[in-house]
Symmetry: C2
Subunit: 345 residues, 2 copies
Amino acid sequence: MRGIRQLAKHLDISIGTVSRALNGKPDVNDETRRRVLAAAEELGYVANQSGRSLRQGTTNVIGLMIESSKETLENGDNFFLGLTGGLQSVFARHKLDLVMLPCPSEEDSQEYLKRMVARRVVDAMIISATQRVDKRIDFLAKAKIPFVALGRSASGGNYTWIDLDFEGVAACAVERLISKGHRRIAIAAPSNDINLGYIFVDAYRQALERHGIEYDPALVIRVKSSEQGGYQAGDDLLGLEIKPTAIILIYELMAIGLYRRLVEAGIVPGRDLAVIGFREEPRARFLQPTLTCFRMSLRDLGVKLAETLLATMPAYAEFYPKGARNTIWPLELAPGESDAFTLNS
Amino acid sequence: MRGIRQLAKHLDISIGTVSRALNGKPDVNDETRRRVLAAAEELGYVANQSGRSLRQGTTNVIGLMIESSKETLENGDNFFLGLTGGLQSVFARHKLDLVMLPCPSEEDSQEYLKRMVARRVVDAMIISATQRVDKRIDFLAKAKIPFVALGRSASGGNYTWIDLDFEGVAACAVERLISKGHRRIAIAAPSNDINLGYIFVDAYRQALERHGIEYDPALVIRVKSSEQGGYQAGDDLLGLEIKPTAIILIYELMAIGLYRRLVEAGIVPGRDLAVIGFREEPRARFLQPTLTCFRMSLRDLGVKLAETLLATMPAYAEFYPKGARNTIWPLELAPGESDAFTLNS
DNA sequence: CTGAAAGCGCTTACAG
DNA sequence: CTGAAAGCGCTTACAG
């Protein structure tokens, strides 16, 4: 089927009426609508998106930008795929489609975003992995394209974000460890400029100081957010002059590498060293002893992200009267055996 | 910047000339082109994609369809993200963009594909996880939209595919095990209708029969393609009346679950049971003893997929004179310790 | 309730 | 080398 013109000719009515019938506009005779729908189905007609977009000024597509860094690849990060279910369940209500836009690792992420946005292939964007200073935010704000950031940033003034409760996780982990007698608590933080690193380390520091423990920069171990990074963290930890008795990890897969390094050194997690991981992850479930970590639903987060985004879009805001409020997404402690001992000092 | 009209007015030349300058057409005065490019850069003008697409009849976008099944999610399958780098490196040569289209799990995958294709949001499609009978193939062929399938299928007549060398892997694994004295070799195969299951089990059977070993259906253990499936396979294996001495896995993450179940039962892989995994995977790298498996480059596979797809597209075929040939993608044995013992019978 | 017509933002023959 | 104009496939005021 070529286009609406062919379909209209086949039905011997005008293209305007065909369009109105297909789009569920009210002023169409029931019988006419029935005929149009039947013919469209039979001939497999679906409106060309470029024609619609050009006329309507909207694409009905929402983009989810993905940074396919080597780290993400290596570690099989399914974070984004986990989000899609929740996102789509919301977008489907409004006949919006989700596309994932993987930024090539060779291309600058801001240039890529610019291209996608300027070409108007999407009506709105979801960005993630926000940096401390993130030019994408300024660009999107200036381009006046609706967007929501998964992650806070020091950039930009007034934009909408959702972020994990790193403060809550850090405070909970530190307090849990202190209550078990630990005083020398290390933290494995990301070595790049991602904003969550700053937030997490700050919250860790504050929690320590609330309990009268001095913050020691030597205990902040900077590594890649990956399994390998966890291995490296174990290595660095073993090299410290005064060994910590506990470590908090900032990225889910670090635990796997860390355990490996510890085992190599004859150190048993949960007995010789307390370990608290970050987000609960199917791949870390097999660890022995089981890892104390934090639980959340990626699907629910996806739903929240989608609803927040739509609340920023004039065309959909009415459906989300609560508005586009920034959200700190809570995680729930999932206690395991990796920190289940009390330090007898 | 509103559109080409504004840009043309700002430069005081016609929109036709602006368009030609921007698109690198030959018949443009060098100085004019320079001015246009400078103004576009300064004002942040990028051509609206809907306008271009409508006029040109192409979107310059290639879709990679992703089935976000619960299994994929649970297991953090990074197969697709691993492919994107290679795909994009080829598409970039032709200024084509890649978008990932995640099929909502609630929606029928053929309906989803139909919608995306009929609306003409992409010029061509890459599909994967082909089923034994896969209606998507018939649909795409009938719709005459260029596509390539990652995976063979019994469906459709003449279509282009690339598939992993399951035959080679199965034969290599079986022969390796037989050479080490094994005669009772189990195989963990997928429980769904995915085509690779048929191919793999067939090749396994043929390899056995070449060595005079009778095929025993009881040794084909049907489980989900996931870590949990691996655990289940271990469970099923332990329940067999006559225990196999070796097992071949058909999906990369099964090894993790299998190891777990074996450890629980006090069975040591590589000593009590020989295990050969499928594709080498970062997440299975920590397994002890190390897993014998098969190695391949996802990036290179992405390059091949992209080149094969472009060879089927009239507009790009000239750049890929080898044509769109079906390809069996080889994997290389990566020996580990999990099958490194000889059976003394 | 339906039709005729305008126009969304581009690219591209066609003149000159 | 440049401009004026047509037209890609739709949707949507506007008449009737």
